[in-house]
């Protein structure tokens, strides 16, 4: 078994070394070698996952007398298999896609090293391995994004990624140092056991050490998962090769969710930090979605879409739904990876035939021509508000009766309700002859999605956090005062419903007759400049470089 664990982690490294050594002799066969080894590693990790699913104990392996520990617990095993699965698809895609590139072999070396770094990150059972893998992911991504060494633009934005990732490395290094100083070990299991036994045993600068570590780990996750104000690298790194974009959006950017899950025993004792994560995630989800809607460049829109999804993922962690964040990470990874990898084929097909049917859906979604007046609207409002709620409540009652006692669960239901209501409301506004058929189909699809989501997320919950008491603790830690919670829910509901009403009436009155046209134009300008975040960072960078240059001149370059 020990050999199996080592093999899974080390195989991609072996592949990278072999390709580097024999690139000149193997030529284009390097890709086949890389694919074969990745396939083998994927199959072995799948075996470990099956063993874990069938109830095997977590496997932990210490390498010699070193501090390096490989931990194949449910989280590590599941993510290792997902990473290797996505990496295998990216490998297969790259075999032909990258065939014309000069540094073909070099690309597979980097891809294998990246796979290895990601693997070591998710199975790290000690802080040193975790920090090293976390750090190396950023460095390797920089070179993968800069695969085209002729492109200054590609390197410019690869640098944005690198520097943001390095900013995210620093809090994790600090957290590791603090934990080591307090517990005198690098082993995550020992540290987590100690924290579970006595969470308030140590202090740092007058604060609880658990809170400080949770905040630092949260910061590292925020930087890695492109949360608002540290997001600018994500939409701009589209000059890298498509397989790298797929790997980045499907896997690497999700690392923040993984890190928070890994440190769950710390976060369960740091409710305030979870609340902070919720706010950051919510803000990112709103900003990402808003910016996505205003982009006219499809690739940047995809980048902002990922940012919004990452916001949701961090938000899920913030409400205590840790395993849901992992499910979200997996589902979004598959979805976004497919989009990137199929983009080339879609563009190619569109050259011959755009394939867009000029039907009601096209008129509604692309030409944005909704039906202005439709009756009976009162009945429709009732259906819009009630049906999603009933579906969600019934689906969740199937898995746990006490589900609604948890604030986090209520927030998730709330978002599910808003999304479902938005879907039915949008369907109702479509230009179609048989509106009830359309609404019926929407409700049916909503039922399928909700049931699928509820059962799969529940399965993730049972697999990743089998202890029901710990699951309950996570939700409790993320809870806030009940009165404040209720007030927030009511205010948010009012805002959203008011938005729908305003949208409905403004469409009836016609968009062009808005009273506050200048206000909207200014708002649009603000969004189209992406809230000036990139401009501020560019100014700041120039300022630092200018100070550096002036210092060199004043000190005569000595």
């Amino acid at each position: 078994m020990e050999q199996l664990i080592i093999l899974v982690a080390v195989l991609p490294l072996i592949s990278a070394v072999l390709i580097q050594l024999f690139d000149g002799h193997l030529g284009r066969s390097t890709a086949r070698l890389s694919v074969a080894i990745t396939t083998l590693s994927f199959l072995l990790s799948a075996v470990l996952l099956v063993m874990s699913l069938t109830g095997s104990e977590s496997l932990s392996l210490q390498l010699g007398n070193s501090s390096v520990i490989l931990l194949f617990d449910p989280l590590g095993t599941l993510l290792a298999t997902i990473i290797l699965g996505i990496s295998l698809i990216v490998h297969l895609y790259s075999v032909r896609y990258m065939a014309e590139e000069a540094a073909y072999g070099q690309f597979f070396v980097l891809l294998d090293l990246m796979t290895a770094a990601l693997l070591f990150m998710v199975v790290a059972g000690d802080l040193i391995t975790l920090v090293i893998a976390w750090y190396l992911v950023g460095v390797l991504l920089y070179f993968l994004l800069g695969q085209d060494t002729r492109s200054q633009i590609a390197y410019r934005f690869a640098f944005w990624t690198l520097i943001t990732y390095r900013i995210g490395d620093l809090p994790l290094i600090l957290a590791a140092a603090l934990l080591f100083n307090a517990y005198d070990t690098w082993s995550l299991s020992i540290i987590f056991n100690e924290i579970t036994t006595n969470p308030d045993a140590h202090q740092f600068l007058g604060f609880s050490l658990t809170d400080v570590v949770a905040a630092l780990v949260g910061l590292a996750a925020i930087a890695r998962s492109a949360q608002f104000l540290l997001h600018t690298w994500l939409p701009y790194t589209m000059d890298g090769p498509t397989p790298v974009s797929a790997l980045m959006h499907a896997g690497i950017v999700n690392a923040g969710g993984f890190l928070i899950n890994r440190f769950a025993p710390v976060f369960v004792n740091s409710g305030d930090v979870l609340n902070m994560l919720f706010v950051v995630g919510l803000l990112t989800a709103i900003m990402g979605s808003l910016l996505m809607l205003t982009q006219n460049d499809i690739k940047k829109a995809l980048g902002y879409s990922t940012m919004g999804q990452m916001g949701f993922m961090i938000m899920e962690c913030g409400i205590g739904a840790f395993s849901l964040a992992i499910y979200h990470m997996f589902a979004h990874g598959v979805f976004k990876g497919t989009m990137f990898l199929s983009a080339g084929g879609v563009i190619n097909n569109a050259r011959d035939n755009d394939g867009i049917p000029k039907d009601e859906l096209y008129t509604f979604a692309v030409e944005k021509q909704p039906n202005k007046v439709r009756k009976p609207w009162i009945l429709m409002v009732a259906i819009t508000l009630a049906v999603p709620l009933v579906i969600l409540v019934l689906a969740h009652l199937l898995i746990a009766e006490d589900y609604f006692q948890k604030q986090g669960a209520v927030i998730l239901l709330f978002f599910g309700w808003v999304t479902g209501a938005q879907l039915i409301f949008a369907t109702y506004r479509m230009r179609t002859q048989n509106i009830w058929r359309m609404v019926g189909l929407s409700v049916l699809s909503l039922v399928v999605v909700v049931l699928g989501y509820v059962f799969i997320s529940h399965a993730f919950d049972l697999f990743l956090y089998p202890d029901p008491a710990f699951r309950a603790q996570l939700y409790t830690a993320a809870s806030i005062d009940i009165l404040r919670f209720d007030v927030l829910v009511v205010i948010t509901t009012l805002i959203i419903v008011s938005g729908w009403v305003v949208t409905y009436y403004s469409e009836q009155a016609g968009y062009r007759r808005q009273k506050n046209k200048h206000l909207w134009l200014n708002f649009y300008a603000l969004i189209s400049r992406e809230f000036y975040v990139t401009d501020i960072y560019t100014r700041l960078t120039r300022l630092i470089l200018s100070v550096s240059g002036r210092l060199n001149v004043w000190l005569r370059w000595l």
């Binding site: 640098f159 520097i163 470089l545 210092l551 000190l555 000595l558």
Partner: protein, 257 residues
């Protein structure tokens, strides 16, 4: 010798601003790569030996103001690295920034063996960089970023080595400098939290400077002037050196962490 005199002397070899300018002025004057290599190896060792051996009450005799000055010096030179384009000067400034940090383990009373290894571990990647710089000077007449660019297309084998050496120099895992800086953060955090924060900012600036150096040299279209790339023997030698550096880095990590 009075303590202040020792400190002043040591501040030349374990650079403290403004005496750090002495090293950089000297390093700039050296025209031969082997001389630069010699200086890079010997300079910090002399500094360490001066501090450790000159007073029997080591480390208590070292005044407290040394730490802020050492951190400021390191921060100053890491900031100034961002706008340097000459690879040799860059190596000198990076050496200054890193060696100034040796005052942290010195004040904490680290063992002489460890201090010597820290000094050598910090200098070895710079030694390799100076040798690579000599290659550039020989082929292109100058080792300067943004001057010719496109090395990745023109001399790909050389570029692979160059990138790895720069990564090693700016404390990327798994090279010794990474573990040395990591250890410094761990050791400093509990006694001087602010110093540990400054250390992290310095580390960030080093990464930034390293990325700018890489971009300035390797990115761009292929040079129209044909230049010979590294031959396989040279590649082999550098690869062995880097592998040894990485193994020593991992060993450092296992020993000190």
């Amino acid at each position: 010798m009075p303590d202040l005199m020792i400190i002043l002397l040591a501040a030349i070899f374990l650079p403290l601003f403004p005496l750090s300018m002495v090293f950089n002025a000297l390093f700039d004057k050296l025209k031969y790569a082997w001389l630069r290599v010699l200086v890079l190896i010997a300079w910090p060792l002399i500094g360490v030996l001066i501090v450790v051996k000159s007073n029997s009450s080591f480390p208590e005799w070292i005044p407290e103001w040394v730490i802020p000055l050492a951190l400021s010096t390191s921060l100053l030179y890491s900031l100034r690295l961002l706008t340097l384009r000459d690879v040799n000067q860059w190596s000198g400034f990076l050496a200054t920034s890193l060696w100034a940090l040796l005052w942290l383990p010195l004040v904490q009373g680290a063992s002489v063996n460890l201090l010597v290894w820290f000094a050598i571990g910090m200098s070895l990647p710079l030694v390799l960089l100076v040798l690579l710089s000599a290659f550039l000077e020989k082929r292109f007449g100058a080792a300067y970023t943004g001057l010719y660019g496109g090395l990745a297309r023109t001399v790909p084998r050389f570029t692979a080595i160059l990138i790895t050496v720069i990564a090693a120099a700016v404390a990327t895992p798994l090279f010794p400098t990474f573990f040395i800086l990591f250890d410094m953060v761990v050791e400093t955090l509990s006694i001087m939290p602010l110093a540990a924060m400054v250390l992290l900012v310095i580390w960030l600036l080093l990464s930034w400077a390293g990325a700018l150096l890489v971009q300035g040299l390797i990115v761009g279209r292929e040079s129209k002037v044909k230049v010979a790339d590294f031959n396989y023997a040279t590649i082999g030698l550098f690869s062995i050196a880097l592998l040894a550096l990485m193994i020593s880095g991992i060993y450092t990590g296992m020993v000190i962490l």
